[in-house]
Amino acid sequence: MSRSARGDAATQVSEGPPRASPAVRGRGSSRDLPKGRGLLQRSGWRATVLLLAVAALGVVAITSVRYGSKPIPLGEVFDAFFAFDGSNDHLIIRSLRVPRTLVGLGVGAALGLAGGLMQGTTRNPLADPGILGVNAGAALAVVIAIFVFGIGSLSVYVWFAFVGAAAASALVYSLGSLGREGATPIKLALAGAAVSALLGALTTAVLLIDIATLDQYRFWAVGSLAGRDAQILAQVTPFLVVGGVAAIGLSRALNTLSLGEDVARSLGQRVALTQGISSGAVVLLVGAAVAAAGPIGFVGPTVPHVARAITGPDYRWVLPYSAVLAPILLLGADVIGRVVARPSEIQVGVVTAVVGAPFFIALVRRRKLADL
C-alpha cells in the first residue's frame, strides 16, 4: 500500500477498500466496476483492435477470392454461391479460389497458434514449431510416398505428411524425455534439432539418388496453396479445429507457466500435463498445416512476436491475435504471389518470407518487444 496507514486512517475507514498504487493498477482498471466483468472490460481496446483485425482478415479473404490470374468482380463472387450458372468464373470461384482461401485461413491460423503455443511453453522467443521435427518428418514421408509408392496426388500426400509429422514428433518427444527430468524444453529442442537433421539427411539422400523424386518434391517443399481444393480442406479441418480449440483453452495455463515452471507448479498447475497437451496441439496444428500446404516457415516464430507487441504478454490475447494476424500475412502473400507473376505464380512460402521478414525486422528495430 502506498498510503501511510496512520495519517490516513480516518479517510481510509470511510473510503472502503484500499486503493492500489498507480503502478499496480493496470490500464483500464476495473477498480470502479462491479466484480466479474473480467477480461473484456479491462482490456476493451484489445477487443476492438482484434475486431478490426478480423475485419481486415475478411477483406484479405475476399481479395484472395477475387484476384488471381484473372480478376473477378465482386458481384460474380456472390452470384457464384447464390445464382450459380456454371460459367467459368463461377467454377473458378467455387472449386478453386474459395477452397484455396479457406485452406490458407486454416493453415495461417494453425501456424500462428502453434508458434504462440511453442513460445509460451518453452518460454523461448526463438521457439519454432519446426523444432519438434514435424517439418522434417512430413518431408521425409512425402519423399517416401513419391519414391517408394510413386504417388503424385496432393490429397494422398496429406495423409503421408501428417503421419510423418506425428511419428517424428513422437520420436523427438521420447528422445527428449530420456534422463532424469523428463521432457524439458531445452532437451526437446535439442532432440528436435538432431532428429530433424537425421531425417533431413535421409530425405536428401533419397532426393539425390532419384532425380525424378526431386523434380516432384521441390514444388511441395517450397510451401504452396496452389491446387489445394475442397478435398484437402475436408481432410485437415478436423485436426485444425481440435488443435485450435486445445490451443485457445491453454491460454490461461500459458500465462501461469510464463512465471516459470516452479512458480506455476507451486500455484497448483500441472506443468507436465500442460506441456503435454500443448505439444499435442502443436503437432496437430502444424502437422495439418504442413500436410495441407507444405512446410511454410517464418509465420510460426514471428507472428506471435507481432501479436505480443500489440497486446502485451497476456496469452489470452496473444493467441487469438496470432490466429488472426497469421492468416492475414499468409493470404496476403498468396494474393501477391498470384498477381505479381501472372499467369504463373510465386508460391506462398516464398512470398511470406520475402514480404513478411522486412516488416518484422523493422518492427524488431523500432519497438521494445515485450519479453516473454
Partner: protein, 366 residues
C-alpha cells in the same frame, strides 16, 4: 632444476608431475621461450594426424579406378604411370585436401564456440551465415554457369555479406543479443524462401546440383578450392592459436579472467571473428557439412582428456571425420555416391542424441 649455464641444451623437456600425470614443460634455449604442454594431447594429435594421412591415402586409392596404396605416393609426386598421376593429382588429391582443410576449419570453429559458450552442444550455426552462403551458391549454380569456383566465391561473399547485413540491421545504439537473433531469424527466412524459390525455377539438373551443394559435398572439389581454404586457414589458424591461450581464462568467467589479466573484449571478439571466418570459408568451399563442427571437438576432448577447447585436436579430428565420411559416402553404397554431408548427418545425429542422453543422465542436460 635449471641446467648449468655452460651446458644449456637446445630443448629441455621435463615432467611436471605436480600439475598432472601428463603435463610436460618444454623449454627452448633460443628463442628463450617455454611452454607447458600435455603429453597426452600431443600424442593424440600425432596419432590422429597419422590416421588422417592414412585415410587420405585410402581415399586417394579407392574409387572407380582403384590405385594400389603402394602407388599412391609415387603418383602424388608425379612418378607413377600417367593415368594414376592424372587421377591422383587432378581429381582425388585435391578432393582429399579440401576435405582435410574444411574438416579442420569446422572442427576448430566448433571448438571455439563450444569453449566460449561453455556448452558442449554449441555449434557455429551462425544465424544467417549458412543461409547467406546457401542462397548465393544456389543463385550462382542456377543463374550463372555452375562453374565450381564461382560457386565458392559466391558462397563466401554471400556468407560475409549476410553476417554484415544482420549486424547492421540489428544495430540500434548497440546490439543486444535478443535483437540480433530475431533479425537473424528474419534474414534467414528471406534467404531460405528465395533459395527454395530458385530451386523450383531451375532446370532439374541445376536443382540437383544445388541440393547436393546444400547438403555439404566434396564432389568436384579441385585445386581451385584448396587454394582459398588453405589461404584463409594460413591466416586464421595462427591467430586462433594465439588467442586460444586465453580460452582457459575466459572459461573462468569474466571477472576471474579480468583478474588474471585476460583482455576479455579483445580475446572474445577476436575468437568469435576467427570462428566465423573459419566457418564461412569452410561453408563456402564444401557447403554446410552437418555436425562436423559439433562432434569433432567433443571427440577430441574425450581423447585428449582436457576440459578446455583443445583446438588442434579438434581440427585434426574434424579432418578425420570429414575424410572418413567422404570415403563412406563414395564407396559404401554401390554405384551411388552420397555427399559427405549426408553421412555426417546420419552418423552425427545419433551421436549427438547419445551425447544429449548421456548429459541428461548425469543431470547436465536441461
Amino acid at each position: 632444476m635449471s641446467a648449468p649455464a655452460k651446458q644449456r641444451r637446445l630443448v629441455t623437456v621435463e615432467r611436471l608431475p605436480s600439475l598432472g600425470a601428463d603435463q610436460v614443460s618444454v623449454r627452448l634455449a633460443r628463442p628463450r621461450v617455454s611452454a607447458r604442454v600435455s603429453a597426452r594431447t600431443v600424442s593424440v594429435c600425432v596419432v590422429v594426424f597419422g590416421l588422417v594421412l592414412f585415410a587420405s591415402a585410402v581415399n586417394v586409392s579407392v574409387g572407380d579406378f582403384p590405385i594400389p596404396l603402394s602407388d599412391v605416393f609415387p603418383a602424388i609426386v608425379g612418378q607413377g604411370n600417367p593415368d594414376s598421376d592424372f587421377i591422383v593429382r587432378v581429381l582425388r588429391l585435391p578432393r582429399s585436401l579440401t576435405g582435410i582443410l574444411v574438416g579442420a576449419a569446422f572442427g576448430m570453429s566448433g571448438a571455439i564456440f563450444q569453449s566460449l559458450a561453455r556448452n558442449p552442444l554449441a555449434s557455429p550455426d551462425i544465424i544467417g551465415i549458412e543461409a547467406g552462403a546457401a542462397f548465393a551458391a544456389v543463385l550462382v549454380i542456377v543463374i550463372l554457369d555452375p562453374n565450381t569456383v564461382g560457386v565458392t566465391a559466391g558462397a563466401l561473399i554471400g556468407a560475409l555479406a549476410t553476417a554484415v547485413a544482420i549486424y547492421v540491421l540489428a544495430y540500434r545504439r548497440g546490439v543486444t543479443g535478443y535483437r540480433l537473433v530475431l533479425v537473424g531469424i528474419g534474414v534467414t527466412a528471406v534467404l531460405s524462401g528465395l533459395t527454395s524459390y530458385l530451386l523450383t525455377r531451375a532446370n532439374i539438373y541445376d536443382a540437383a546440383r544445388a541440393v547436393a551443394w546444400l547438403t555439404g559435398s566434396l564432389n568436384g572439389r579441385g585445386w581451385e578450392h584448396v587454394g582459398p581454404v588453405g589461404a584463409s586457414m594460413l591466416v586464421l589458424v595462427p591467430a586462433t592459436l594465439l588467442l586460444g591461450r586465453h580460452l582457459r581464462g575466459l572459461q573462468l568467467g569474466d571477472d576471474a579472467a579480468r583478474g588474471l589479466g585476460v583482455r576479455i573484449e579483445v580475446a572474445r571478439g577476436g575468437l568469435i571473428l576467427a570462428g566465423v571466418g573459419l566457418a564461412a570459408t569452410a561453408v563456402a568451399s564444401a557447403g554446410p557439412v552437418a555436425f562436423v563442427a559439433l562432434i569433432s571437438p567433443q571427440i577430441a576432448r574425450r581423447l585428449a582428456g582436457s576440459a578446455s577447447g583443445a583446438l588442434v585436436p579438434a581440427a585434426l579430428t574434424g579432418a578425420l571425420v570429414t575424410l572418413a565420411s567422404d570415403l563412406v559416402g563414395r564407396q559404401a553404397f554401390g554405384n551411388v555416391e552420397l555427399p559427405v554431408g549426408v553421412i555426417t548427418a546420419i552418423v552425427g545425429a545419433p551421436y549427438f542424441l547419445w551425447l544429449l542422453a548421456r548429459a541428461n543422465r548425469v543431470g547436465r542436460g536441461g
